[in-house]
Assembly symmetry: C2
Homo-oligomer: 448 residues x 2
């Protein structure tokens, strides 16, 4: 049904035409902001600025919103001053704050001094909130009505607010002091008899978020309740703004990225694409060095068995295999448990059940791996004692690994740390030490 | 603002009272479905069924919807027949399908024969779609209007549909043949002059999904465009249903879980909590055995250097450290690249830029780790040649690991495989082989 007749490289040609303004307006006429973005993405900031100039405040601000914040900054600084002012006014509060934080300080304070005082007050009020709180992601463009009007009047009030609200599908009922009294969906208003008073039809048990709540917490609330938005209030229940469902998706994505990176011991979320190797290295080095130091222990364990290794040097051939196998089995079980704890499929009280499950899983997979390892040892060295040692050590290592990998995330969770910090590499390092000890001690028993 | 005075264990007491029906109704009176769920979660299916019986069709079906599908099944089969019928009718199409698929076949066909024919037709129509397509997650409860009515009339039509639609905030314009002509938001209708004709105010460029589209694709569309819902059509543009934003969040979560598990080499998504160890083992064993076989190569490499290991047995002490360090550095860079490819922060064309970045990152972190490793070797064995070998091998290994970890996901992506399959354990196994070769070859050069 929906087709646009232009592709990205052609835009560069259009930008060179003398009548580019009309051409650009024509091109982007019926396009949704997202499609305009897909088309403009990859152009230089100055070129995107030219498109925004052609589109004007209204459509231009919608297009600008689609870009990531670091690109927004570059495009925005390329716009003429009056358009900067106009666009800043058009943006919802959370986007205004992101932009003001990122553009040069001088430009920011100049713009802040000329925009309407309501916008200025909102920006100044919320710019101080920490980046991961509700205060930093809310928007003040919500619809509200007083409690003492009729449903019919409320519908008219909402209609009048429709043009500059993020959503009018949720309507908040406030008193003169802006305290939140209740909540209505637009549907509630529509289906109610026109002469009913708002206070009679509103829901008074409103699920709210505090302005200082963690934004992940807010996102999870919206997602769990299947809301389109949630009101944000201060400690005295004054309405400050709303967080909408589209922000939730972004938050959930970031949260997942964080877990993913932590589990790969790759540090916290940062702008990888825009960072130098030195900066990337800074993000990773701490974990790597900690793991190197943990690796020292494995050397010490081996040193204790120097005589045995000297006597049967072939023992060493299987060390990487054993260590890796333990690490792999442990990574698998920790991955499942960490993810289960994050989604709620696994709960702290399940720890014993999971221990049991992982123990028996370890017996099964360890058994299979032990047989495979022993067969390999027989073919490689024709030494049945070595094969026996490898087989037994493999089984023991894998059982220790699956159970340890499953239990450690619980311990982290119990200590109020993110279970995802229990990374694959961390588990591997711990399991290695155990594997080496089990393997070499088995060797001592079996060969002597 | 919102407080309920009851906690979960108390419910069990309430269920024993002779007047439990009234007590339960009182308890759950003003509660949102999600809060009712939180309260009832953890009870036995029969107990939850009793609550649903007390709450009746309307509120009962909302509560049932909150449970995961396997629990839904157990609760549902404990309900009396008439309530089963009533609840099945109340559910949106996608939930109906999930339930019908999961309850015993006999019960399903019995229920299907008695529910209204419109519901039956919908269920039979969409139950055949593959689980991961739009057809399997859509609901037919959308609001629609004809093209030739006025805005005023359209508002009345929507109001009349309000009670049994998933959302009335998006309104679809259909012809007599149910072909999709256009789309209006409820806001568009509200703010338009009452006597305007729908066909004049509707948007005709509608973003749609095909019924056979992958649901991840549909979810991404809704998220990218910040829609509340997207219409699903067949190849002739007949309107079949809508997918709503709350489904998107579930899809995104599952997608992330899949990536997370794959990167931990923990197999695909499955019901971990409900699986036996044998079943869990089945999910993991393939990867583990593949990795064991890959580990054979490291043994072969070491065997080639048997003489060197025999001569300087202390060389073996640093093998786990080196292998782990390479694996860790490779896991870090692969984690970042896999995640970047999934979120779109990293694109295929960036491969050379990323190779460079990871190479230099490897030089920096490898340098630091090499120094630390060499210092350790000096203290442990007082042998400067050994320390030199460990240091050089560490640097080389880490550089190979960071670059390989970054490049392999690109190769998977290029081969149209999920880059997340390039798991930490897989990278570790490959890097191990390289590390051992580099380390032992360095030893030969340095000691001889």
């Amino acid at each position: 049904m929906k087709k646009y007749s232009i592709i990205s490289p052609e835009i560069k040609e259009v930008l060179k035409l003398p009548d580019k303004t009309e051409k650009l307006r024509e091109l982007f006429k019926d396009m949704l902001p997202r499609d305009s973005y897909v088309l403009a993405e990859g152009l230089e900031p100055e070129e995107i600025a030219e498109i925004i100039i052609a589109l004007g405040q209204e459509k231009g601000s919608k297009l600008l919103e689609e870009f990531p914040v670091n690109e927004q900054r570059d495009i925005f600084t390329d716009l003429p001053y009056l358009l900067q002012k106009g666009i800043l006014e058009k943006l919802p509060t959370d986007e205004q704050i992101d932009l003001v934080k990122n553009i040069p300080k001088k430009l920011a304070s100049k713009l802040l001094s000329v925009i309407p005082s309501a916008d200025r007050k909102d920006i100044k009020k919320f710019i101080g909130y920490a980046e991961d709180t509700a205060g930093a992601v809310l928007t003040t463009e919500y619809a509200s009505v007083p409690a003492d009007v009729t449903a019919e009047k409320a519908l008219l009030l909402v209609r009048d607010q429709a043009f500059n609200r993020e959503t009018i599908y949720y309507v908040y009922v406030l008193n003169n002091d802006k305290k939140l009294l209740g909540f209505l969906s637009l549907k509630d208003i529509l289906v109610s008899p026109p002469d009913k008073i708002v206070s009679e039809i509103m829901h008074t048990e409103v699920i709210t978020s505090n302005v200082n709540d963690d934004r992940e917490h807010v996102a999870r609330k919206i997602a769990n309740y299947d809301f389109l938005a949630i009101p944000v209030v201060d400690n005295e229940n004054h309405m400050l703004g709303i967080v909408t469902v589209d922000d939730v998706i972004d938050v959930i994505k970031e949260e997942h990225t964080e877990d993913f990176l932590r589990h790969g011991a790759a540090g916290d979320l940062f702008d990888y694409a825009g960072s130098s190797p030195a900066h990337v290295a800074k993000h990773r080095i701490l974990w790597l060095l900690i793991l190197v130091v943990m690796g020292f222990v494995s050397g010490t364990v081996m040193q204790k068995y120097e005589a045995q290794l000297q006597a049967v040097v072939a023992l060493a051939f299987f060390i990487p295999l054993l260590c890796d196998s333990g690490g792999n089995a442990g990574t698998q079980s920790s991955t499942i448990v960490i993810r289960g704890l994050a989604t709620g499929e696994v709960k702290i009280k399940d720890v014993f059940k999971i221990f049991q499950k992982e123990f028996f899983t370890g017996v099964i997979v360890g058994g299979a791996m032990g047989i495979l390892g022993a067969v390999r040892a027989i073919f490689m060295n024709k030494d049945p004692l070595l094969a026996l040692t490898v087989g037994i050590a493999m089984i023991a290592t894998v059982i220790v690994a699956t159970t340890l990998g499953a239990i450690l995330p619980f311990i982290f969770k119990k200590m109020k740390l993110d279970p995802a910090l229990m990374s694959g590499p961390f588990i591997t390092s711990i399991v290695d030490i155990v594997s080496l000890f089990v393997y070499l001690q088995c060797a001592v028993w079996i060969f002597n």
